[in-house]
Symmetry: C2
Subunit: 206 residues, 2 copies
């Protein structure tokens, strides 16, 4: 249906919002009318925050995480363990792992996973720079923390082959039943992996 | 949980998005990372569309609909029936009614409905300006097209009393079962109204 907008400015703003993933024209309209009800300063703050982010944001030269500086807070933190690198797909994964407070090493953000269907090959990802970091010789362990999907597995295997020539321990995060999950509702593949990858129980919670 | 952001600029942009209704911090993060992947021009276009809208948008002096000009396209269109005014809550309602292509009169946008719970009284709405339009004497019918809620009904009744002194026909949009709805799934109140407000059937689809 060809929606008639009472104002070209309104239509333009709705168009822009509707380009965002998961936001349809009805939601876009609701968001624009919400912003219209806010004061001018709030709307300027919103628009300028996005423009400034795009203009001024940097990516860490070492791990490619998003950063306000050339080298990110994590890479430049002397109290982090520089001998361990955790390989993740994107910035959100870094934040998710940081939130667990279980990891004190560094990261390497690939910027995606190998996905021929989406036209993403190894050269589109930060894999060469990972190899360079390993080549430098200060890294003793690389942890693969990609999604447990076909694309994640493909990327894991590609990195495995790329790092094989170097003297580095390559580990992969555990796959098994989620904490709090009931066994009978766990899918067969996950449950099978859980049994195959069982670990020695030492009497403490794992 | 106190989420750690790798960049203050990123956090600011996420904060701004998360202020929008129905958008949580996870969605906000997803939208910001999406925008970061777009080119600079697209992000500037987005930010500036919102800022320009807020700075330049006007409200029609007659009906208070959103407009690029002092008097909106509908009010200034000589082929519309200026003797009929349809009273609606907001701009989206104008667009919804325009999309039906069933109405050729003018509008009056109240800017909300009376809602003591939200601190919205009659003086916060464009009710006085509606009375002024009716007073001018060229209007023969005012159609009340507000939501079928307690607040809508309160506002309908308030307008009814305000316009009672003037020689104008006051009508209200039909309430009944929705087109395509099955009778057994219609709520009792709606069904009761549908029966009470039955109209003479002339053999054509209504």
């Amino acid at each position: 249906m060809n929606q008639q907008y009472p104002s070209a400015l309104l239509e333009k703003a709705v168009d822009e919002f509707a380009k965002l993933p998961g936001i349809g024209r009805k939601t876009a309209m609701r968001l624009v009318l919400y912003l219209l009800r806010q004061d001018t300063q709030a709307v300027e703050s919103f628009g300028n925050a996005l423009i400034r982010l795009k203009h001024e944001v940097k990516y860490c030269k070492v791990c490619h995480n998003i950063s306000d500086t050339d080298v990110c807070q994590i890479c430049s933190n002397p109290s982090r363990d520089a001998s361990t690198i955790c390989v993740v797909e994107n910035i959100r994964d870094v934040m998710a792992i940081e939130n667990t407070q279980q990891y004190r090493g560094l990261y390497h953000v690939l910027g995606g996973v190998i996905s021929p269907m989406d036209g993403i090959g190894p050269s589109d990802l930060q894999i060469e720079s990972l190899v360079e970091r390993v080549k430098a010789g200060t890294v003793s362990e690389v942890i693969l923390a990609l999604s447990s999907t076909m694309e994640g597995d493909t990327t894991n295997f590609y990195i495995f082959r790329k790092l094989a020539p170097y003297n580095v321990k390559l580990t992969i995060i555990a796959r098994g039943i989620s904490i709090g999950d009931e066994l009978e509702y766990t899918d067969e593949v996950t449950l099978g992996r859980s049994i195959a990858n069982r670990i020695v129980f030492t009497g403490t919670t794992i």
